[in-house]
C-alpha cells in the first residue's frame, strides 16, 4: 500500500523546524513519523501525518515549499536481523532504497519502517510476493 508523505524545504537556520511543527500542532495535525535530511545549507523535512492533504495545504498557504511523495510503510519483524531480512529481498530484486526511516510506534509485534523507493510499484509487488506486510494509509495515519 502506498502512503502519502509530505516533504518541506527548510533552510538551515534556527527556529525553522519549530515553526513547521508548531504550525502543524496548532492546526491539530499529528506527526506520526518524520526524518530530516540536511546539507550545510538546507534540509528536507519528511513527514507522515494523520491528515496529509490538510498538512500540505496548510504549509503551502504559509509560504513553505511543500512536496508530496508516495512511500511505503513496511512491517519489519522486531528481532535481530529483522530489517536485514526485508532489505535482502529488496536487494535480490534490484530495488533501490532512496531513503528510509522508522516509526516510533509498533504495529502489533512488528516495527514499522517508511521506505522511499525509486520504483514504488515494483517494490510493492516484490514485497507482496515475499509476504512482507505493507500498511495502508488509513491505518498508518492513525497509528
Amino acid at each position: 500500500m502506498k502512503i502519502l508523505q509530505i516533504s518541506v524545504f527548510i533552510e538551515n537556520q534556527s527556529g525553522r523546524l519549530y515553526e513547521v511543527t508548531n504550525l502543524l500542532g496548532e492546526n491539530n495535525i499529528n506527526i506520526r513519523a518524520l526524518s530530516l535530511a540536511d546539507t550545510s545549507d538546507f534540509g528536507i523535512l519528511r513527514l507522515i501525518v494523520n491528515d496529509p492533504q490538510k498538512a500540505h495545504t496548510l504549509l503551502k498557504e504559509n509560504g513553505f515549499t511543500v512536496g508530496r511523495t508516495e512511500v511505503i510503510a513496511v512491517e519489519v519483524p522486531d528481532k535481530p536481523g529483522g530489517l536485514a531480512s526485508v532489505l535482502k529481498v529488496l536487494n535480490e530484486n534490484n530495488i533501490n532504497v532512496e531513503y528510509m526511516y522508522a516509526f516510533v510506534e509498533m504495529s502489533g509485534d512488528c516495527a514499522v519502517m517508511i521506505f522511499r523507493f525509486d520504483e514504488t510499484d515494483k517494490a510493492l509487488e516484490v514485497l507482496s510476493k515475499n509476504n512482507i506486510v505493507t500498511i495502508e494509509g488509513a491505518k498508518i495515519y492513525g497509528i
Partner: protein
C-alpha cells in the same frame, strides 16, 4: 623612470594642442568610415569640422557598451577587416562578447603604452617578468606581454592559474617582476607559504596589478607579504586593454592617463553633463589614435575622480583615482566582469527556477566569493537531497562555463529574498573598497 620623456612630460598646452589635432583627425576618420558614427553625428546635427576646440567635446554623442553589441562583431571597425591584425573580446552580458580589433599600428601603440606602464612601475631591461594575466581573448595577457618585451624584459608568458607552477617559476626562474590581479597575488603568497617558500626571500621586486578594483590596504598587505612595490594599473578592452592609465612608483597616488592617446572626461552619469576636474563621476574616454575601433566618448561606467595637480614623477598627464564604483550593476569578481543579468538569463532558462534570486559577493581571505541564492519553488523541489544538490551543481557549472566565474549556488526558501518596489535589489556586495 619615464619610458617616453617627450610625450609623457609634454607641457599641458602642447599636450592639449596635440589632443585637439588628433581628435579632429579621428572625427574625420569615423565620420567617413563608420556608419554608426555618421548617423549619430547627423542625428545631433554635428559635422567633424564643428569641433574647433577641446571644449566642444561635449557636443559629441556618447558610445555605450550596448552600441558595441548592436554592431557585433565588426560593425564599429573604422578600417577594412583585412587591416586588423588582432582581435580580442570581453565577456558579454547576453552571451555575445564585446569584440575589439587592432591594426598593426594599434598593437604598436598598445605595446608603447604598456612599456610606459611597466617603466613607471620600475620594471626595466634585464628584469624577469612573470606575466600571470590570462592569455587569450582577454586583453590582459598579450597586452602586458608586448609592453614588457618592448622594454627588453625577459617575459615568462605563464598566463593565469596553475598556482603551484607559478610558485615554482617564481623561485626557480629568478622572477624580479610579476603582473597579475591583486587578489591572485595574495593567493600566490598563501600557496607559496604552503610549499614552504616565503616570497619575501625571493628576488621579486615589483608587482603590476590590475583588472579588478582593490584598496590601498590591500596594496600595503601585498607589499609587506611579497616585499615588493605594488603598482596599480587601469584599462578596459573597449578602450585598449591594460595601459590606459598607470601609477608611478614614485608617488603611488593616482593613475596617469595616457592623454596623448585618450581624452578623459568625468561626467554626471544621470544628467550626462561634464563635471569639473576633481569632481566624482563617470569616466568617459575618447580614443584619439586608435585605428581599428576608435570610440567617441565611451561610457566606462567606472566611477572615479580626475586629479589635475602635477605629480612628483614629472609626468604632465592627469591622474585618475582608484575606481570606487560603477554607474551600472557590473561586478568584477576575481578579475571577471559579471553582470547580474547574465546570471539571470542562466537561471530563467532552467525549468522550475523562480525569477527571484540574489547575488552575495564577499571577499573571504584574499579571494572574492560569489554566492547565488535561488528560491526553491514547488517545481524545483524534491524530497531527495541528491536531486536538489544536483540542481545546485548544475547551475554552478553553467555559470562557470558561460560567465567564467566560480559561484556557489545556495537554495533558499521562497519569499526569503527581499522584494522591493520597482528595481529589485539583486546584489549584496560585502567587499569594502574604500
Amino acid at each position: 623612470m619615464i619610458w617616453n620623456e617627450e610625450f609623457e612630460t609634454l607641457p599641458r598646452e602642447a599636450l592639449e594642442a596635440l589632443q585637439l589635432k588628433r581628435l579632429q583627425n579621428l572625427l574625420e576618420r569615423v565620420y567617413a568610415n563608420v556608419p554608426f558614427y555618421r548617423h549619430a553625428f547627423d542625428k545631433k546635427g554635428i559635422k567633424p569640422e564643428d569641433i574647433k576646440s577641446l571644449k566642444d567635446l561635449h557636443k559629441l554623442p556618447f558610445t555605450y557598451k550596448q552600441d558595441m553589441r548592436d554592431n557585433y562583431p565588426y560593425g564599429l571597425f573604422a578600417v577594412p577587416r583585412e587591416q586588423v591584425v588582432r582581435i580580442h573580446a570581453s565577456s558579454g552580458t547576453t552571451g555575445k562578447p564585446t569584440v575589439v580589433g587592432y591594426t598593426r599600428r594599434d598593437v604598436a601603440t598598445w605595446a608603447e603604452l604598456m612599456a610606459r606602464t611597466f617603466t613607471a612601475a620600475g620594471v626595466k631591461k634585464g628584469d624577469v617578468l612573470q606575466n600571470a594575466y590570462g592569455y587569450g581573448l582577454f586583453t590582459g595577457g598579450l597586452g602586458a606581454h608586448y609592453g614588457a618585451e618592448l622594454i627588453g624584459a625577459s617575459v615568462i608568458p605563464i598566463s593565469g592559474g596553475n598556482s603551484a607552477k607559478q610558485v615554482m617559476i617564481l623561485k626557480d626562474f629568478g622572477t624580479t617582476a610579476i603582473s597579475c590581479t591583486p587578489s591572485y597575488a595574495l593567493n600566490l603568497y598563501e600557496v607559496a607559504l604552503e610549499e614552504g617558500i616565503n616570497l619575501k626571500d625571493l628576488p621579486v621586486r615589483v608587482g603590476v596589478f590590475g583588472a579588478e578594483p582593490w584598496t590601498n590596504a590591500m596594496r600595503k598587505e601585498i607589499e609587506e607579504k611579497w616585499g615588493i612595490d605594488a603598482i596599480d594599473i587601469y584599462g578596459l578592452s573597449e578602450v585598449m586593454g591594460p595601459g590606459v592609465s598607470f601609477e608611478c612608483v614614485e608617488a603611488k597616488n593616482g593613475m596617469h592617463i595616457n592623454e596623448d592617446h585618450f581624452i578623459a572626461e568625468i561626467i554626471d552619469p544621470e544628467t550626462e553633463e561634464p563635471l569639473e576636474y576633481g569632481q566624482v563621476g563617470e569616466l568617459v574616454f575618447t580614443t584619439i589614435t586608435k585605428e581599428a575601433i576608435p570610440l567617441i566618448r565611451y561610457r566606462t561606467r567606472d566611477i572615479t575622480r580626475l586629479i589635475k595637480e602635477p605629480c612628483k614623477c614629472g609626468r604632465t598627464f592627469v591622474r585618475m583615482e582608484k575606481v570606487t564604483g560603477r554607474s551600472d550593476d557590473m561586478l568584477i569578481i576575481r578579475g571577471v566582469n559579471v553582470f547580474p543579468s547574465q546570471i539571470e538569463s542562466i537561471l530563467v532558462e532552467r525549468k522550475g527556477v523562480q525569477p527571484h534570486y540574489q547575488l552575495v559577493v564577499d571577499r573571504v581571505g584574499n579571494l572574492d566569493t560569489l554566492e547565488v541564492q535561488v528560491e526553491v519553488g514547488e517545481d524545483l523541489f524534491s524530497d531527495e537531497i541528491k536531486v536538489l544538490q544536483n540542481i545546485e551543481k548544475s547551475i554552478e557549472k553553467d555559470i562557470k562555463d558561460i560567465i567564467g566565474v566560480s559561484a556557489k549556488v545556495k537554495l533558499v526558501e521562497p519569499k526569503t529574498i527581499q522584494r522591493s518596489e520597482g528595481k529589485a535589489k539583486r546584489v549584496i556586495d560585502k567587499r569594502v573598497l574604500k
